[in-house]
Amino acid sequence: MDDTLQFTVSPDFPPDRLSGWFVFNTWLQRQLGCSVHLEMYDGFSAQRAAVADGHVDLIYANPFDATELVRHRGFVPVARPQGKSDEVVIISRASSAQDAIEALQPGVRVACTTDPDVRQIGLILLEPANLTPADLTLIDTDKHLLSAKQLLKGEADVAFLLADAYDGFSKLLREQTQVLVRSAIRDIHHALLAGPRLTARAAELQQKLVAMGDSATDRQLLGELDFPAWEALETEDVEFMIDVIDTLRAGA
């Protein structure tokens, strides 16, 4: 294998952040003094296959994938985006009588991307209505915007969306919908993880990432990724997050 490090970002990043990640990759190359290739995979399964084949050295991982990477694939935590957690909203059409979680009935049609966090957290938010996955018709989509469109076309009754994506929708689109519930979990977030070829330099990288918050230019760069700074992520922090996620995987 050549010396180029392979970097990848969880496919659930908002599309308008793409150029921000490429700029960040350039920053990484300069800081690490070696070449770093940013590969954006088309979906979670393609990215997981690349990890399994040892083609990933640095990953901005979805929290549910972080479990596998840290516990079974020798990745170590480096940093997390400050103040950012993975939250989910469940929405229905503004005109819908389905205006509260408890009003939802078995048979409800749910539009949802295949992102593991959105789906799992969304299902938990439906538990107060006594709905299990068997009570739902899930309509898979590729993008949060498409989930919202399924809803507006009347092909779905509710949609699960990443709260960040929903908040980024146009006012017009948001006004055609109502939020039935918004999660406030806080303890679950994306994480930058270093793979086996990079673990020896993880501490050095962590230091450089955290220092970005002290430089106006670097903060501007991070602004393009929609967070103000990187925060150091320690093994115990990510172990705790994984413990929380493990409890969520078990159904009620």
Binding site: R186, D187, A252
Partner: protein, 157 residues
Amino acid sequence: MQDMDPGFVPPPYREVLLTYHDGSVRKVYVTDREEPYPDGHLIVSRTNCDGILTHANAAFVEMSGYTREELIGQPHCILRHPDMPKAAFADLWACVQRGEQWHGYVKNLRKDGGHYWVYASVIPNVRDGVAVGYTSVRRKPSRARIAEAEAAYRDLD
């Protein structure tokens, strides 16, 4: 553990003597008031291997009615409600000490004598192959499940 302070409990209330698994007793005051579970939140706490609270998130603190300072360092049974059967917690401890997850519906007692229902998961925190403590994550249960749990616990005691 200290007895509950009836000064924080709006009457009418009943007084109950709780006996814990280690034989210690605590006087608690109980009202019928239910505190609604906050939508969308998870209530998270961690304990050491002896069940002493080491961490509580904001939702945990708020729902308990205590301050964080009053909670950390206390045994987790500070929340035990007299309507909860001993068998449920015996099962919880047996499960997590075997290294397994435990799930169940729990009625918790607040500092003000009220209560709140949760669907709780408890998991051992395994680090380098050794359990170093436990984490519990609670979710909002449906009314139907709460009704079932109430009936089942009434029969158990």
